[in-house]
Point group: D3
Chain length 172, copies 6
């Protein structure tokens, strides 16, 4: 039995993330999706709460033939203990997946097997692009799995993101 | 669709918790199990990490005909914001289940529908009893679902609990 | 112009505190009442929120011929910086009033003029006594200024204290 | 009896804030002025301590025919619990006043009645403008109530702001 | 080159600690003395600041033929990341020395070589005994290296400990 | 006996810092080097851990005829208590050395004798320059004492800095 760990902020969970899960599913039997910056919400960069992101992930992966866990990971603001923090909050895992250089470096120094993929970059870009479309009232629904649209709508997520983005732009 | 929220420390998840889930399953379609004091581990009162407790819960409920979410909730040490904290970390819920008077009071003041059951007391007592049996090398396996035995053994949980209990007893 | 600083938890503000203010009023033109452990509430030892305690103090002292400030002071959990923390949160003061040996020692090491009075002990005892009476449904209204009764009732404070005291007594 | 809540950083309290209080006074009997980022001081954006800001507000409003409370609110760095935090630190209020989109959104999601006014924007701009004038030794005294001039001078606030602004500009 | 790590609270540094260092010096070329609970001071259990404890250790070991480092370690209140925290604050070490069961267990789970000695228990008992003697004005100077007497006296440590102990005994 | 206090982040300790110590050594008998932002590491601005920085400083100053202490100081994120925090973590000192305007202002308001030197600016610039050279694989070894080269190499510090700098540049 092999278990993977895939960390992201999932703001929101989108098709790039979904493709990554498909790709990782070839390697592992179970997958933990670590929801980074879990305590953050209501900002341009992190509009959705951890609870909303758990819903997006779980509902999007429900028909997937893979045991998945969606685990919120609150920030500790201290890189040197981040791997231990993640390991204590997550079911035990064998391989970590990330394309973020800091995350790769931290897992590498801790002796954890970490794998990257060119696909990750696409995913990061899509997150920013997606939030910009939401802010500008452009089409975004096509870039995410259907259940994510529902979660965003139930949370009045577009209105929320547009409001908090005004705040971030103006200073306070 | 009705979703419930059941908070506990699940140190470890045992048959009393399992019975409560069976009881709650009559009311709801989905259930969030909030893992309290998620950042605590390696103490007499909280021997297991959040990750280990996620495994106990998920594996114990896998054949249950109920959609469940195991969500770690870190302590904020501030009762007045606890309900908001829980609501941000958890998928949205309609009913909270607890027999803890503080939890009931906090949900009540926040206008959340909260239900209690005589069964809860039994569960609290069993948690303490169970950890004492683990410390004293008495039989404990009969009081928990089978997958919990596996998780405890993989973590060398009995040795860990016995060691940290020595520390707590002696002072440092 | 002389300004005094009087620190307490004021859980709740009672006649002993009121007498202390009368006594301090002989020395000073203005008085800051520092509300300690301001972030704590909903526990046996700290049942009321900072906001509720601000109301108790302000309404009780409204007819007093003394300029007063009710200032919440959150705990920093670090004795060595406590005086600096208090000084940054409070209007500048000349004399501190306390009978708590730790508080006296900390102000003393920081070179702040600190005065004590035998009356303080009475006040501490009354706080505990008062909360016990509230828990046991015995008469407590006679021990506090009238406006405090109103604040406690608006907050359903007796019910709250009785509930959270159950929690503290049983463990969780 | 109606009580309002008006949140700001008041760095420093100026004529724009004063006008807002005059405007709000038409609606309410009592007003809480929540001093945001209360733990911050000695930076370009937040030069003054909470204690100094309490003095500015209280002295500026002393002749106002309105019961006011100046309440420091420390940051919790977690938007999802911010409203609960504010509600626990402040006397109970009926209406919140703000023109900050994030604050409006957070109160709105929590079901609190929140009102905005075009006057708020002016106020925000004035805060930044005012601190820049202080840094550049230009006239600033005309933009604030007289008691604020006294508080700034007692704290050697201009020197402080000019020094810390040097730090912020150079990096460290 | 072998470097050891020896963790303690050193409240204060006494002859039992000194003997342990003599014993460890047989194994290693360099020794890090990790000062635990570095942020705590002014309490019965932790009367001295980290700075005072650095002085006690450094002055007591100055003639020792061993390179030593006195490193304050602030508490993180999270056992699962404690080893990573220690490793980031301390020069790299090969062997940890402790007789505290929790510390042994945490290093053991992290794969760090940890050694214990019967001598440690003696040391723990002496810390408590020593502080009690200080509180009761009994002879304590004979139980500590001479430079520790100087540090305690410069800090007015006996007066401080006696004051804060009053606070701890009475509740607040 | 005079003891000085010299605060820096020492990321890494370089020849500019070394010259400052030479300069300060003319004034004092002992010198505390306070390692600022001690909890930060693995970022472009703060690549090295506190433990690594202790090694750099101690090994670089070993032949210096001056008693030195390398003391990690974790950030408290609150300027108003920073001096008290430093004073509790450090051996008692008579003079502080800094050219950082914020640090000078904070020590000045606390009544601590603080001295600056034109040399400090050079030092700040060199820190940034040095890290840029490390990132760009340009010559940096000539700008630091020899033992610093060893510490950086043992930590694979260049690889680490280049990796985390990628993260900081791309966002996450």
């Amino acid at each position: 039995m092999t278990r993977g760990f895939y960390i992201g902020r999932f703001q929101p969970f989108h098709n790039g993330h979904y493709s990554m899960v498909e790709r990782i599913a070839e390697d592992v039997d179970e997958l933990v999706l670590g929801i980074g910056s879990a305590g953050d919400s209501h900002s341009t960069r992190n509009p959705f709460t951890a609870g909303e992101r758990i819903m997006m992930i779980t509902k999007s992966l429900v028909d997937f033939d893979l045991v998945t866990y969606a685990v919120p990971i609150e920030d500790l603001e201290r890189n040197s203990v981040w791997v231990s923090h993640v390991q204590s909050m997550s079911p035990d895992f064998d391989i970590a997946y990330s394309n973020n250089p800091l995350v790769i470096q931290l897992f590498h120094e801790a002796g954890v097997d970490v794998r990257q993929s060119p696909m990750f970059n696409r995913e990061v870009l899509e997150g920013t692009e997606l939030r910009e479309r939401m802010i500008d009232d452009e089409d975004w629904e096509g870039l995410v799995p259907d259940p994510v649209v529902d979660v965003v709508e139930e949370a009045n997520g577009i209105e929320r993101l547009q409001m908090v983005n005004d705040s971030d732009s103006n200073g306070t």
